[in-house]
C-alpha cells in the first residue's frame, strides 16, 4: 500500500527549535516538498537568513549558505550568475528583507535575478526578541514600540509584495499564508510555482508568507492565528500581485514612454 503522507526526503528527521505556534516549520516543509516534487535537491542551494530561521539548514537537506542580515538576495545573485544551472532560494524574515535588506531585494528583483525568495512576514523581529519591524502593524506593541507603533513617527507598515510588484521587470510576486490548513495548500502551490518559474529561467519569484510569532506577540498559538487573520490579512491581502504572464506588453511600455 502506498504511503500517502510522509516526511519530505529533503528534510532531516529532527525536531525544530521553533516555538509552539510558529509557522516556520510548516513553511520549511513546503519548501522541502517543492524541492522533492521537482527533484532538484542535488542542484539546490538555500540561503539561510539572520533571524530565527538562520538554522534552516538543520532542517532542510540541501547545500546552504548562511547570510549576513539582509544580504541573502546579493548572495543568491552571486551564485545564480556564476552557476545558472543551480536552483537558488533565499529564506528571509521581515526585519531581514524589508528593513536592513531592502536595497538588496529591490535591486535583485528589478534585475530579474532568476532565484526564489521565501519571505516570512510575522510583523516583528523574532530572534532578537520582539522588536518593531517595518511590517509591524499600527499600534502593535513590541519591545521597541512599547506604546504601540506610532505611524506618525515611523510610518505605515511596508507591503513588500505590492512594492516589488511596481517594478516593471517581469516577476512572480505573490502573498500567501499558512496560518490555517485551508491556506496551506495554496501556499504550497505558490512555492512550487515559484520554483518552476526559476527552473524555466523565466523570472524572479517571490512568495510572501504571512506568519505567526506567538512568543513575541505575547499570545497563545490559537490567539495568534486569530490575530493574524483579523489584523494582518486585511492589511496584507493574499493572492498574486504579479505573474510573468500578466506582465505589461511592450506596446504598453511604449505608450507609457510616449506619455
Amino acid at each position: 500500500m502506498a504511503k500517502l503522507f510522509q516526511r519530505p526526503k529533503s528534510m532531516f528527521d529532527v525536531s525544530t527549535h521553533y516555538c509552539p505556534g510558529c509557522t516556520h516549520g510548516v513553511i520549511h516543509r513546503l519548501v522541502a516538498e517543492a524541492i522533492d516534487a521537482l527533484d532538484i535537491r542535488g542542484r539546490t542551494v538555500g540561503i539561510a537568513p539572520v533571524g530565527c530561521a538562520v538554522m534552516a539548514y538543520n532542517y532542510i537537506d540541501c547545500d546552504f549558505q548562511e547570510a549576513a542580515h539582509g544580504r541573502a538576495p546579493a548572495m543568491a545573485t552571486g551564485i545564480k550568475r556564476v552557476r545558472p544551472d543551480l536552483m537558488v532560494f533565499t529564506y528571509q524574515g521581515d526585519g531581514d528583507l524589508a528593513s536592513i535588506g531592502m536595497g538588496e531585494i529591490v535591486h535583485a528583483a528589478n534585475r530579474g535575478e532568476k532565484f526564489t525568495t521565501i519571505f516570512v512576514n510575522n510583523a516583528i523581529y523574532g530572534m532578537t526578541g520582539g522588536q518593531m519591524a517595518p511590517t509591524t502593524m499600527p499600534n502593535q506593541r513590541t519591545t521597541t514600540s512599547p506604546f504601540g507603533r506610532k505611524t506618525e513617527e515611523v510610518g505605515m507598515p511596508i507591503r513588500m509584495a505590492e512594492l516589488l510588484a511596481t517594478l516593471r521587470t517581469p516577476g512572480y510576486i505573490t502573498r500567501q499564508t499558512v496560518i490555517k490548513p485551508k491556506y496551506i495548500q495554496k501556499a504550497k502551490k505558490a512555492i512550487e510555482r515559484a520554483f518552476v518559474y526559476q527552473m524555466e529561467n523565466r523570472c524572479f519569484s517571490f512568495v510572501e508568507v504571512i506568519s505567526t510569532c506567538p512568543t513575541n506577540w505575547g499570545m497563545t498559538p490559537k490567539d495568534a492565528v486569530q490575530w493574524a487573520e483579523d489584523v494582518l490579512l486585511p492589511y496584507y491581502p493574499l493572492g498574486d500581485q504579479k505573474t510573468p504572464d500578466s506582465e505589461v506588453t511592450e506596446k504598453q511600455v511604449a505608450a507609457a514612454g510616449a506619455a
Partner: protein, 355 residues
C-alpha cells in the same frame, strides 16, 4: 607575449582574466572605475560574468555567493567602497571563502579626495572587517607588479581559503606603463568539492555542503578562531615578500616604503649615492604578512643609525616598523596624505637631516 602599454586598472582587469577568474562584480568608484569599464566588454569576449551591483555592500555578498559556489571571483574598489565591503570581507573570512579584493586607495577620511593615498594601511592589514580576521595583503609598486600580483592572488586565496587584497595607491591604477603578462599561471589544483555549495550532483555526492560563519557554542567559536589564527600564522611563515634595495653595503639610514612611494624613495636613494650618502630600502611587497625579520636585520646593521617609514598616510605603517624593530633603532615617520606624493627632494632633505 610582448609588452603592451596599459593603464594600471586595465592591467589588473586583464590579469584577472588571465588568472582564470571569469567572474567580476563591482560598483563604480574613482579612481578604479576603469576596471569595471574594461571588464564590462572583456568579460563578454571570454564568456565570463560581469555585473554592476547596486552598492559595495551588495557586491561584497555577490562575491560571497559566487566564492561559496566554488568559482574564482574578484572585485575592485577604492577606500570608501572597501569600508562598505568590510562587512562582507569579515563574513568571507569567517566562512573561509577565497576571493580577491583590489583596493586602489584614495585619500580619506570620509569622502577625502580622489588622488593617490596609502591611508588604508591599517584597515587592510588589520583584517578590514569585524572579528579576528586577516587578509593576505599585497602591495604593487608598478603596473607590471600589479598584474603579476593579481595572478598570484587567486591561487593564494584558494591555498588559504581566505580573501586576498591587492592594495595599490591611486597612481598604480591610473598610470600607464609597459606590462607583460605571464603566459601560464602556476597553481596547485584546489579541491573545492569538500566545502563549496556547488550542488550535490555537481560533485557526484550524497551529502550537502554548508558555507557558514555562525558558531553559537563558545568552544566551537574559539576553535574556529584558533584554526583561522593558525592560517594567519602560516601566512607569516610562508608568504612574506619584500624587495631589498641598496642594502649590500654600509648605510646610515634605512627607509621602509611601499607602492608608488617606494619608487620615489629609490630615486632619492640614487641621488644621495651620488652625494656620498648611502641609504638602504626595504620595500614590503606583502603588508600582511609584514617582513618583520628583513626589516629588523637590515636595521640592525652596525652602520645603520636610524629608520625612516615613508608613506602616503599620517603614520600607519610606522607602527609596524617600530613593532618589528624591538627598539634597536630609532624610527621616524614622514608622509603626506592629501593626494600629493612626497618628492625625491623632500626625501633627500629628510635623510640629510637625520644623519
Amino acid at each position: 607575449m610582448s609588452k603592451v602599454l596599459m593603464k594600471g586598472n586595465e592591467a589588473i582587469a586583464e590579469a584577472a582574466i588571465r588568472a582564470g577568474c571569469l567572474n567580476y562584480f563591482a560598483y563604480p568608484i574613482t579612481p578604479q572605475s576603469e576596471v569595471a569599464e574594461y571588464l564590462s566588454w572583456r568579460m563578454t569576449e571570454v564568456n565570463g560574468v560581469f555585473l554592476q551591483g547596486e552598492s559595495e555592500v551588495a557586491v561584497s555578498y555577490m562575491i560571497f555567493g559566487a566564492a561559496g559556489a566554488g568559482v574564482r571571483v574578484f572585485t575592485t574598489s577604492s577606500s570608501p567602497g572597501i569600508s562598505l565591503m568590510s562587512e562582507g570581507i569579515s563574513y568571507l573570512c569567517g566562512a573561509q571563502l577565497p576571493a580577491v579584493f583590489v583596493n586602489i586607495m584614495r585619500g580619506g577620511p570620509g569622502l577625502g579626495g580622489i588622488l593617490p593615498s596609502q591611508a588604508d594601511y591599517n584597515q587592510a592589514t588589520r583584517g578590514v572587517g569585524h572579528g579576528d580576521c586577516r587578509l593576505l595583503v599585497m602591495a604593487p609598486a608598478s603596473v607590471q607588479e600589479a598584474a603579476e600580483m593579481v595572478m598570484m592572488a587567486f591561487p593564494l586565496a584558494e591555498k588559504y581559503r581566505n580573501p586576498v587584497m591587492l592594495l595599490g595607491d591611486g597612481l598604480i591604477g591610473q598610470m600607464m606603463e609597459p606590462v607583460e603578462f605571464p603566459d601560464h599561471l602556476k597553481s596547485e589544483p584546489s579541491n573545492k568539492d569538500s566545502w563549496a555549495t556547488n550542488g550535490i550532483d555537481h560533485r557526484n555526492g550524497t551529502t550537502r555542503n554548508l558555507v557558514r560563519s555562525l558558531f553559537l557554542d563558545p568552544e566551537a567559536l574559539n576553535n574556529n578562531n584558533l584554526m583561522l589564527r593558525a592560517k594567519y600564522e602560516r601566512m607569516k611563515a610562508e608568504e612574506v615578500r619584500f624587495e631589498a634595495y641598496n642594502t649590500e653595503g654600509d648605510y646610515q639610514v634605512l627607509i621602509v616604503s611601499y607602492g608608488t612611494m617606494s619608487r620615489v624613495c629609490k630615486t632619492a636613494i640614487n641621488a644621495l649615492k651620488g652625494q656620498g650618502v648611502e641609504v638602504g630600502l626595504i620595500r614590503p611587497q606583502t603588508l600582511f604578512p609584514f617582513p618583520d625579520v628583513a626589516i629588523r636585520e637590515a636595521a640592525a646593521k652596525p652602520s645603520c643609525r636610524t629608520v625612516l617609514s615613508i608613506e602616503m598616510s599620517m603614520g600607519q605603517m610606522v607602527d609596524d616598523v617600530e613593532r618589528c624593530l624591538h627598539g634597536v633603532r630609532p624610527v621616524e615617520w614622514y608622509g603626506k596624505c592629501g593626494g600629493e606624493v612626497p618628492t625625491p627632494e623632500e626625501i633627500i632633505d629628510l635623510v640629510k637631516a637625520s644623519v
